[in-house]
């Protein structure tokens, strides 16, 4: 496939994954806060901005976090490069340049998602409608993902889409794991029955759609250790970093000129395997540094893919 189109398809897929992550994250967080009535609005809503890595951009425009500002910044604010609205514009542009690659049914599903987000955000999304709005987006994304698997040939275009999703998803998981360190508990504080039984770690699991799988597979109460171990090292959970890297590498195997990118993936896998989970579970700043390094590793993998396969001059996506 053409290098230019590979790049379009790659970014299209990253933005789809980003929309899915953002929508799910807001939904989960919203529900979490309903059970924490006493938390100050700033402390309650700022974590969403931190997880999204948007502290600087957000604080340029707002001094404090609250529900209205944070949700509208994440959903409809054109000043936020990662807002649902901006991500959908990026998807639209990339879809346009790669239109011929996609089966018509898939093209239609993606463009109706773009249209839905644009239409709904023309007015402010009220709290009462927010859940519906985000649920609809999540459902449309599931349909798109189904159509990608079922209607696209599992060829290079498909693999670029997969690789982009894996990178975006691993990044999201690592960010979600980083928040409890800024806010709430570590394992050391646990004793007896906690009032909120590690609600924050449970929220982390829910934010990446892994809560049920944790219960089924880990079969222990939610804990920092269990959660870190599951979301970093599980090789069968779609949201787990290890899973994402394994699958990413499997995609890369099929490409020529893949040595640089595969070396980066390999190093990152080793870095994952070397994690001292117990230590990370008890030391928030160690955890933060560890995850920060991991995220840089993901950037390196992305750069290796881009320099190997995409056209030399980066275009605005």
């Amino acid at each position: 496939m053409l290098s230019r189109v590979a790049e379009n398809v790659y970014w299209l897929s990253r933005y789809l994954e980003r929309i899915q992550n953002t929508a799910r994250m807001i939904n989960v967080h919203d529900r979490l806060l309903m059970d924490l009535p006493d938390v100050h609005p700033h402390d309650a809503w700022m974590p969403l901005i931190s997880i999204s890595g948007l502290n600087t951009q957000y604080l340029e425009h707002f001094t404090r976090a609250n529900e209205t500002n944070v949700t509208s910044f994440l959903i409809a604010d054109t000043r936020n490069p990662g807002s649902l609205v901006n991500a959908s514009v990026a998807i639209k542009n990339n879809l346009r340049s790669s239109r011929d690659i996609f089966p018509k049914v898939l093209y239609q599903k993606i463009s109706s998602l773009v249209r839905y987000i644009r239409q709904e955000t023309e007015q402010e999304i009220k709290k009462a409608n927010r859940r519906d709005f985000l649920d609809t987006i999540e459902r449309q994304l599931l349909e798109i993902s189904g159509a990608v698997h079922a209607s696209l040939r599992h060829d290079q275009a498909y693999r670029f889409m997969r690789m982009a999703s894996y990178l975006e998803r691993a990044d999201m998981t690592s960010r979600v794991l980083d928040t409890p360190s800024t806010l709430l508990s570590t394992d050391q504080q646990q004793s007896g029955i906690l009032p909120f039984e590690n609600r924050d770690w449970a929220a982390a699991l829910k934010a990446v759609s892994a809560m049920q799988m944790y219960r089924r597979h880990v079969r222990q109460p939610v804990s920092a250790t269990g959660c870190l171990n599951f979301l970093l090292n599980d090789d069968q959970l779609p949201a787990a970093c290890c899973f994402c890297l394994l699958r990413l590498d499997r995609c890369l195997e099929n490409f020529k000129h893949n040595d640089v990118a595969r070396t980066e993936v390999k190093q990152l896998m080793e870095y994952l395997a070397s994690a001292d989970i117990t230590h990370l579970a008890s030391d928030a700043s160690a955890r933060h540094n560890y995850l920060d390094q991991f995220q840089l590793g993901l950037i390196n993998v992305g750069n290796a893919i881009a320099t190997t396969y995409f056209p030399p001059v980066q275009e605005p996506a």
Binding site: R4, R99, R115
Partner: protein, 534 residues
């Protein structure tokens, strides 16, 4: 039919669906009767369904504006335009004849120039044409064909005669909309097709693919569609066609010429391209040769083409025959090369480079249509009867400044076809809101010529949505209609196959009709195989 929807329908000129006595034409009878059974609510729902389908399918065209380029949804009027299959056979034959002659003409101009030496077409006319490319002299493209894809504009005058208005031999667009229009009609009027014997239109893309492949010696050639980019007005079509024919949709920056061969930048490395269906104008296809600043083309493409390492459709330089002055010579060109009488009429054309004719044109600007020789999309025209004295004075000056660049034609009374309009009812009753009104239409069929020839079944009907307007271009507020070639069994069954038994430029003397070979699959396969062996 006292309650008929059609009782009030009236056309000021020839109408495609109704006779002067306001009875339906034979081929349109089933359609108009069926439409009469729909109440206004149903009709409104069908129209809405079509709009939704167009939005959902993403069928758009792009309009240039001050605010940037805007995607507009493709405008389709759901009342089809109907053509009798008997008539269409004649038209199809005439179109093939025309394109065959034009290709002989282009090939002659770039090689022997016999037609100039014999004084049929003035040498001066060709040598002053901006579209005559010296870089193409001496080229022998495959099958001696230059214009592989031609979109001719046809209009019908008061007496029912179909005229060829122009031959678009450069990068004609619209065929994707023809195909999608049918797709939408199937969705929103599903029950009417079985009653009306409408011939299908979807063989175009497989014919296009076969035609393009016939330009290369490679067994399974790599095809690509070269687009100026995603902001071009016809980008939808470029993507559509690439998808339909299994070609890569490429932009100039995706391609590179090395050792006089054309490659595309693939994630696996460079991959050789055998055939380019380019939708970029001559002037922009190769900055080494033509417009130096072009970023739409590929440096070295002309070299690769001249070396015979890549086929380009349409071939560079084919536009020399797509000139409104050359147009006026087409009847002579047909007689000269084919020794046949033209089967399709051309509009009488006044060439302003002749002083006497020029004087006539200038003193009759209020009744004539004046066109620049080299513009498309309806730009730069003067429609005399609808123009102001200021516009006429301006055109007069243009003609005097550059007489070679202008031609004039009598204003035809272009035919109409019924079109749904929102009548502003005096009593605001919802179900009185939709009526059928006569709107002017033209027709753009597409003619393919490679090793074989094929013509679309019908073509793209464009309709001027503004009452009385003759401008059908979608960029200027025109709409479109599905075009039905209806075969309702009145002709001799022997003639029902689309086999005109003609011979094109193929040296083998076989039937050159792509559609004919499709009517019988086993024949088609045999023929393909025998062609490959030759």
């Amino acid at each position: 039919m006292p309650n008929s929807r059609w009782s009030k329908y009236k056309s000021p000129c020839y109408d495609e669906l109704f006779t002067e006595q306001n009875t339906p034409r034979h081929a349109a009878a089933a359609l108009t009767a069926w439409l009469d059974t729909l109440d206004n609510d149903t009709l409104a729902k069908r129209r809405l369904a079509a709009e939704l389908a167009i939005r959902q399918m993403g069928i758009t065209f792009t309009v240039y504006s001050d605010k940037g380029n805007i995607d507009r949804e493709w405008p389709l009027d759901i009342i089809p335009r109907v053509i009798d299959a008997n008539e269409w056979r004649t038209v199809e034959r005439g179109l093939k004849q025309r394109v065959r002659a034009l290709n002989r003409f282009i090939d002659d101009l770039y090689n022997d120039q016999a037609i100039l030496n014999d004084g049929i077409v003035p040498r001066d006319l060709i040598e002053t044409s901006a579209n005559f490319l010296p870089e193409c002299v001496g080229m022998k493209p495959p099958h001696n064909v230059w214009a592989h894809i031609c979109g001719s504009d046809l209009v019908r005058d008061t007496d029912g005669t179909l005229y060829v208005l122009e031959d678009n031999l450069r990068v004609p667009s619209g065929v994707s909309y023809m195909i999608e229009n049918r797709e939408i009609m199937k969705r929103c009027l599903p029950e009417v097709f079985s009653q009306c014997q409408v011939l299908p239109v979807d063989s175009y893309t497989s014919n296009l693919r076969r035609m393009l492949a016939s330009l290369s010696d490679v067994a399974n050639p790599m095809l690509c569609v070269l687009t100026p980019g995603e902001y071009n007005s016809a980008y939808f079509e470029h993507a559509f066609l690439a998808q339909e024919i299994g070609a890569e949709l490429v932009q100039g920056r995706d391609l590179v010429v090395k050792d006089d061969k054309l490659y595309m930048r693939d994630v696996d490395g460079l991959i050789k391209v055998d055939v380019v269906y380019r939708r970029v104008d001559d002037a922009f296809i190769d900055p080494d040769c033509f417009n130096k600043d072009s970023t739409l083309g590929v440096p070295g493409l002309m070299r690769a083409w001249r070396a015979g390492n890549v086929a380009i459709a349409n071939a560079p330089g084919a536009g020399v025959a797509d000139d409104k002055v050359v147009y006026s010579y087409v009847p002579d060109i047909i007689e000269y090369y084919l020794n046949e009488k033209p089967e399709l009429a051309s509009v009488p054309t006044y060439r302003c480079n002749d002083p006497d004719v020029r004087d006539y044109v200038i003193s009759n600007l209020d009744t004539l249509v004046v066109k620049p020789a080299n513009e498309s999309g309806g730009y730069g025209m003067l429609i005399g009867p609808q123009s102001t004295p200021e516009e006429q004075a301006q055109m007069r000056q243009h003609i005097l400044d550059n007489p070679r660049n202008y031609i004039a034609q009598p204003t035809l009374s272009i035919s109409t076809s019924p079109t749904i309009t929102d009548a502003s009812g005096t009593d605001n009753r919802e179900h009185d809101a939709l009526t059928f009104a006569a709107r002017h239409v033209d027709l753009r069929p597409f003619i393919l010529q490679g090793e074989q020839m094929a013509v679309t079944t019908g073509g793209l009907t464009r309709v001027a949505l503004v009452p009385g307007s003759l401008v059908v271009n979608s960029s200027q507020g025109g709409g479109s209609k599905d075009t039905w070639v209806v075969d309702n069994g009145t002709m001799d069954s022997q003639q029902q196959r689309y086999d005109t038994g003609e011979h094109g430029l193929g040296a083998d003397g076989q039937s050159t009709d792509l559609n004919a070979s499709q009517t019988n699959r086993s024949d088609s396969l045999n023929q393909q195989q025998s062609n490959k062996q030759e």
